[in-house]
C-alpha cells in the first residue's frame, strides 16, 4: 500500500510501499504521484508518476496506460506504457510493442518487442568482443565486390 507524503518542514519524506502478502501494489489510472516511491514489493503503474522509484529486489511494471517520468532502480522492469527516465535494473528490462521509452537503461538482460518506440542509451553487461574470422585482406580501400552470397532456406 502507499502511504501519503508527509511534509515535515523543508523535507518531504518519500512514499513508502509497504510489504504485504498480496499481489503487487497498483497505482491506478486516476492516480498521479509526484515524489519518491520506495518499497519492497512489486509495483504496477497505470496512472501517472513523476519523481523516482526504488524497489529493491522487486519488479516494476509500467502498464499500457502508465505515464512515468522517473529514475528507476529495481530488480526488473517491464514497460508497456510511456516512460521517460533512467532505469537501473539488477536483472532484466523488458519493453513491449506498445511502449514508448526515452532514457538510459542499465541492466543485465534486455528484451524489446518489434514496434516499440525507443530512444535509449543501453548498457548491458559486456562480453568479450566477437571473435571475428580474419577477412584475409585489408579493406581500407574502396572496393566493390560480389559477396555475401545469400543462402536459401526451406527447400
Amino acid at each position: 500500500m502507499l502511504k501519503k507524503t508527509k511534509n515535515t518542514g523543508s523535507t518531504v519524506e518519500p512514499f513508502t510501499v509497504a510489504s504485504s502478502s498480496g499481489g503487487p501494489t497498483m497505482v491506478g489510472q486516476q492516480i498521479a504521484i509526484e515524489g519518491k516511491i520506495k518499497g519492497t514489493e512489486d509495483l504496477v503503474i497505470e496512472g501517472s508518476v513523476r519523481g523516482s522509484i526504488e524497489l529493491e529486489g522487486q519488479h516494476l511494471t509500467v502498464g499500457p496506460k502508465g505515464q512515468v517520468e522517473a529514475d528507476i532502480l529495481a530488480d526488473s522492469v517491464t514497460i508497456s506504457g510511456r516512460l521517460v527516465g533512467n532505469i537501473t535494473a539488477i536483472d532484466k528490462v523488458t519493453i513491449t510493442k506498445d511502449a514508448d521509452f526515452n532514457g538510459e537503461i542499465k541492466a543485465r538482460r534486455f528484451s524489446v518487442e518489434d514496434g516499440a518506440m525507443l530512444k535509449a542509451v543501453i548498457e548491458l553487461e559486456r562480453e568479450s568482443p566477437i571473435k571475428a574470422v580474419p577477412l584475409g585482406k585489408e579493406a581500407d580501400e574502396e572496393e566493390d565486390e560480389k559477396g555475401g552470397t545469400p543462402v536459401t532456406l526451406g527447400q
Partner: protein, 198 residues
C-alpha cells in the same frame, strides 16, 4: 529460422546472407576506445543484445517508426530529424541499415547531413540499398544472428514506408560526402556500403 511474415517466401527469397560489411564495421569499431554506436532501427532485440554487449554504450533511436508516424500525421518529414538531437561528433559508428531506401532524395540529404555532423572524425556509417531491381515493399529489420555475421530479415508489418528504388550511380552520388571504404553486392541484390566520415 528467420520469420517469413510479411509475404517473404522462404522457398523463393534468400533467408540470410553473410555480411562482410557488418563484420568489418564491428571489427573497426571495437578498435576504437569505448566506442559509441547509434542504431536507427527498426528496433531489433537481437541486435541490441549483441551490440550493447560489445560497445561501451549503444544508442538506439528508431527513426523508421518516427518517420512512419510523422508521415502519417503530417505527410512530410520536416521535423522528424529533431530526434537525432545528439551533440556533434558523438558517435564512432552509425547503423543506417536500408533507411535511405525509404526516403525521398531531399530527406536522404537531410539525414546524411545529420549523420555527418554526429559522427566523429573517422567514424563509420553502414548503409544498405536494394538498388533498382531488388527489395521488398515491406520494411524489414536486419538481424545479426550470430558471430559469423549471418544476417536474416524480419518483416515489420507495423511500418508502412514506401520503397524508393535507385540506381547505383544515384546512390553513390548521395553518399559523396563520405569516403567509401568498401561495398559489397549480395546475391539478393542488396548492396552494403561501409563509409567513413573524413
Amino acid at each position: 529460422m528467420p520469420s517469413a511474415a510479411g509475404g517473404v517466401s522462404l522457398a523463393s527469397a534468400p533467408a540470410y546472407h553473410i555480411s562482410t560489411i557488418l563484420r568489418l564495421f564491428i571489427e573497426r569499431l571495437l578498435r576504437r576506445q569505448d566506442p559509441k554506436l547509434l542504431d536507427v532501427g527498426p528496433i531489433c532485440a537481437e541486435n541490441i543484445n549483441l551490440l550493447a554487449r560489445q560497445t561501451a554504450r549503444l544508442y538506439v533511436c528508431d527513426m523508421f517508426i518516427r518517420i512512419d508516424r510523422e508521415r502519417e500525421r503530417t505527410g512530410a518529414l520536416r521535423s522528424v530529424w529533431r530526434h537525432l538531437d545528439y551533440p556533434d561528433k558523438s558517435f564512432d559508428g552509425i547503423l543506417l541499415w536500408d533507411l535511405l531506401d525509404r526516403l525521398d532524395d531531399s530527406d536522404v540529404a537531410s539525414l546524411l547531413e545529420r549523420c555527418h555532423s554526429i559522427l566523429k572524425q573517422g567514424g563509420m556509417l553502414v548503409v544498405f540499398f536494394f538498388g533498382e531491381q531488388g527489395g521488398q515493399e515491406s520494411v524489414n529489420s536486419f538481424i545479426i544472428e550470430d558471430e559469423g555475421y549471418r544476417v536474416s530479415t524480419r518483416a515489420q508489418a507495423h511500418l508502412k514506408l514506401p520503397l524508393r528504388r535507385r540506381n547505383a550511380r544515384d546512390i553513390l552520388d548521395m553518399l559523396s560526402s563520405f569516403r567509401l571504404v568498401k561495398s559489397v553486392i549480395c546475391g539478393n541484390g542488396l548492396r552494403e556500403f561501409l563509409l567513413q566520415r573524413m
